[in-house]
Homo-oligomer: 406 residues x 2
């Protein structure tokens, strides 16, 4: 039901949402680095933020505003995270929001701010204020692609997807965009995601569906194990489709709508890993037959974060010993490694404590040379499963992160 999530030029407008973008010159001249969203009155908005104790000023303000009023606007900038700036950081956000509120005629607490970029540099408030009129002028229901570009930092490509879920009484349109490339890990990544639908949602239902969708998507990906001060995922339901609001009591109807939201989050999450800093591969780590989802997830995370596994992925080297060593150091009770099996797609590389006699290294190397594949770990001691997505660790990861500020 979706379009290719990389084809963000094909992103479908969502009735009730207008988007503008402008060049504020925050970090680089000559690129869009500011985006504004206008939400139709009555839009329900839910958001999930970073769990890092070190949160950026815009996250602090956005959380407060979300609790105080129904958002009518989003203000998003890239190039500067406005994190680690103390009280001055909060004052900077408020100065931007006040200017915007005056210009559009709303209260400042009806605007949610989002920033991404370098930590610890003062937000260039004046440049943002000066660029606001151009952003408003460009506001259009077709602004998704421009916003997808404006929110990028070290990303190499835009990330967006549009879906139409047909299972409800009227078609439910959803469009989402995201940014994120480094600093990605469970419990929210350095990422921003903005998702809108024309469906009508009860606030509780939207919040719960978003939380679940994020848990099954953005919290299942890792690029480098780091988290950010600015992560946020926002879902906006304009209710412009003529339908009764989706509620938690709706049963099947809620499940259909939540599944569509999750689908968008998962596609955006995988797009982030595919564009992981320096990444050339998207690799699923599927851990099965564990005692609990938690233990499967612990194994999947340990493998997904292992620099030795990630450099082997980069080299397309079926060095299964590194995978098994990562499984072996996962924090599990009484794991008997003799019972564990490991597969590269269909190729068994480890069982009964060793590499099988019939192991075909050439076949394993062929699997590893693909752009996308799955490492499957069978714990053989239960019925639970969990999947994480990771990418390889390459020279370019080091280059990008060693040169980011220069």
């Amino acid at each position: 039901m979706g379009v290719d999530q990389r084809a963000s030029d094909a992103l479908a407008p969502i009735p009730g949402i207008r988007i503008g973008a402008a060049k504020a010159g925050i970090r680089q001249r000559e690129r869009e680095d500011l985006a504004v969203f206008e939400l139709a009155p009555g839009t329900q908005t839910a958001a999930v933020f970073t769990r890092n104790a070190f949160v950026a000023a815009p996250v602090e303000v956005a959380r407060r505003h979300l609790g105080a009023a129904a958002p009518r606007y989003l203000l998003i900038n890239s190039g500067n995270a406005n994190a680690g700036n103390g009280a001055a950081g909060v004052a900077a956000v408020e100065a931007c929001l006040n200017a915007m509120a005056d210009a559009v005629g709303c209260r400042a607490d009806q605007i949610l701010p989002f920033s991404t970029g370098v930590i610890g540099e003062p937000l260039p408030v004046e440049r943002i204020q000066e660029a606001l009129p151009a952003a408003f002028e460009s506001m259009d229901s077709d602004g998704w692609a421009a916003a997808a570009r404006a929110i990028l930092t070290t990303d190499t490509r835009t990330k967006g997807i549009s879906l139409v879920a047909e299972e409800l009484e009227v078609p439910m349109r959803i469009t989402g965009i995201a940014k994120g490339s480094g600093m990605i890990r469970p419990d929210m990544a350095t990422m921003l995601a903005f998702i809108a639908t024309d469906a009508a949602w009860e606030p509780d239902a939207l919040r719960q569906a978003l939380r679940k969708a994020v848990g099954d998507s953005f919290n299942c990906i890792t690029v480098d194990g780091d988290t950010s001060t600015n992560d946020a995922c926002v879902a906006m339901a304009t209710g412009c489709a003529s339908m009764a609001p989706i509620t938690l009591a709706d049963g099947q109807r809620y499940r259909y709508a939540a599944a569509a939201l999750k689908q968008v989050c998962q596609d955006l999450a995988l797009a982030i890993v595919r564009d992981g800093e320096g990444a050339s591969k998207l690799v699923g780590i599927r851990v099965a037959s564990g005692r609990s989802t938690k233990e499967c997830r612990a194994v999947a995370e340990t493998v997904a974060h292992s620099p030795l596994v990630k450099t082997a992925l980069f080299a397309a080297d079926p060095n299964w010993g590194r995978i098994v060593a990562a499984v072996g150091r996962a924090p599990l009770e009484g794991l008997d490694i003799e019972c564990v099996s490991v597969f590269l797609e269909g190729v068994c590389v480890f069982e009964r404590g060793r590499c099988p006699e019939a192991y075909d290294e050439a076949a394993a190397a062929r699997v590893m040379s693909a752009d996308e594949f799955t490492i499957r770990v069978e714990l053989n001691r239960g019925a639970a499963t969990a999947t994480m997505y990771t990418c390889d660790l390459s020279y370019d990861y080091v280059r990008i992160n060693a040169e980011y500020r220069s």
Copy 2:
């Protein structure tokens, strides 16, 4: 009291220990890759092994033998880890030990085996057996430097230290060697360490002192967060010095001896980080004024493992935002980031939620450009401290680990 731990040619013999080395051609021709240790009768031996659930065959056998008999010999090879080989791996170790037992006239369970190198390739038993006579022939009390070379894998230099502790009734000599470079992390690293002293120790005292020394040294270093299947640290006390055995009841005497053992472990541990795969810097992460050692350690580990911090170390970029973001995602209860301060040596880079007004980036960059320095994090909510040592993440880390098997 020590010599430079990099000057392993100056390693002092330990009365009661003879060491031989030979070229078995296990992975590379023309280098020593086999070492044998002969321990005088009556030598007390203690060992700490990897906590990875995936353990190599030699670890399994060494643990069993250590429980069964007083070791008289060690047999060590590099180039092949003999891990992930199932029952055939154990049979391979036993074949080597049986040949050695026949040659030297002891029981096989009086020999402890150790292997390090590639996981999952069959141990070349015959080549090892064939090289044993040459190893025995070269046995000498001066063999430490040769053994230090023979145990290396991706290491770029040998690691050894000799100390003489003068605080006891007679001088206590200690010499130790280690290998390890990648796959290093808390809870034992991919490392082997062999430490001998001529002091006499009660077994319990030696075991406890070794366990404590390893906890304060090898378990405080990280290169890439990975652990190995083969890690082991062995302490051998020959008792050739004319002294009564050191016991746990000895008080000050035990503390002096244990401190000397710890000193050797710490020097070897730092030598391993200095030689971390691709590392150009040794960086201490000192976390102070925490509520407990455990929480200080959790913060230190999170910072020490962060790929974003480690690439900033490589770039000598005082990107303190990455350090604070790593502190912020450490698994701590109710951390108020406003109370946290961060210093690069003497330069404060973060306090009261922001970079100080008086911050001097040039001074911070000077600190970061040194080969060795300390990042200090003050949690300002208790009296506990912990220190971890890490290195930078460079292009060479990726190169070494992407090419290791080729």
